[in-house]
Assembly symmetry: C2
Homo-oligomer: 135 residues x 2
Amino acid sequence: MSAANTGVTSLASAALPMPVPAEEYDSCPVTDVVRLMSDKWSMVVLVLLGRRSHRFNELHRSIDGISQRMLTRTLRGLGSSGLVLRQVRPTVPPSVEYGLTPLGESLLEPLSGLAEWAVRNWPEIAAARNRVPTS
Amino acid sequence: MSAANTGVTSLASAALPMPVPAEEYDSCPVTDVVRLMSDKWSMVVLVLLGRRSHRFNELHRSIDGISQRMLTRTLRGLGSSGLVLRQVRPTVPPSVEYGLTPLGESLLEPLSGLAEWAVRNWPEIAAARNRVPTS
DNA sequence: CGGGATCCCCACCGATACTG
DNA sequence: CAGTATCGGTGGGGATCCCG
């Protein structure tokens, strides 16, 4: 295991089980969870589904700027990680309902802590970025 | 403003000031902060610097697999967001010390909440991912 | 010691068109 | 309604070599 993993994992002082094929393994749970939400749309979907379940086109209308393709990929990604549940109902025309799993709901809590920090410290970050380096 | 921004920002129930050039504006503080750490190396650097300040090659040796180029880019990125401080000391040979700013240190707290969640729920996420879909 | 310059690959993402 | 298929732009990231 690398020093990188040791460092990050120790944030929560825990070791991770490694069902790894004897190859190099350069991931850690924390990094993985952060990357889970770091794509352009996952967090928005997570938050919307945190309020209530939505149907596909309902999400599509609620999220400004997302394409059908990206909504599908986002939902599939969150689904394959066990955060989002997809329920197909055999109606005509077909109807698909998306909602959070208990795992998905439980993520919203630590996430809100980070969100609070983000909103509170956003001005300072923006200010730092606007200080253009000595270009 | 889009429904997307409304949704994510409301995680912390706050509105963001928008000094935006009347164009489309598809970012929110929370997303931005998550993306800040979602690249391959930023979190590792953040955690290592959270323990103590490091010199460049000290970090380079501590982080397994990182290249000089990526270490430079990561430190520059965190620096331009105001999370990492770079101190050049006029010695011979030159010596550069990196450490966290107060802003950077304050981030570690909400981050550890997320880290705890990640480690605790990692098995469930991994299990969900290993359930190969009906291919 | 602490970088910068260059090349190249690949995942992310948008746009568009088509379908059971 | 709820997707899939395809194309192409863009930026992250690795490898390698060079510099004050």
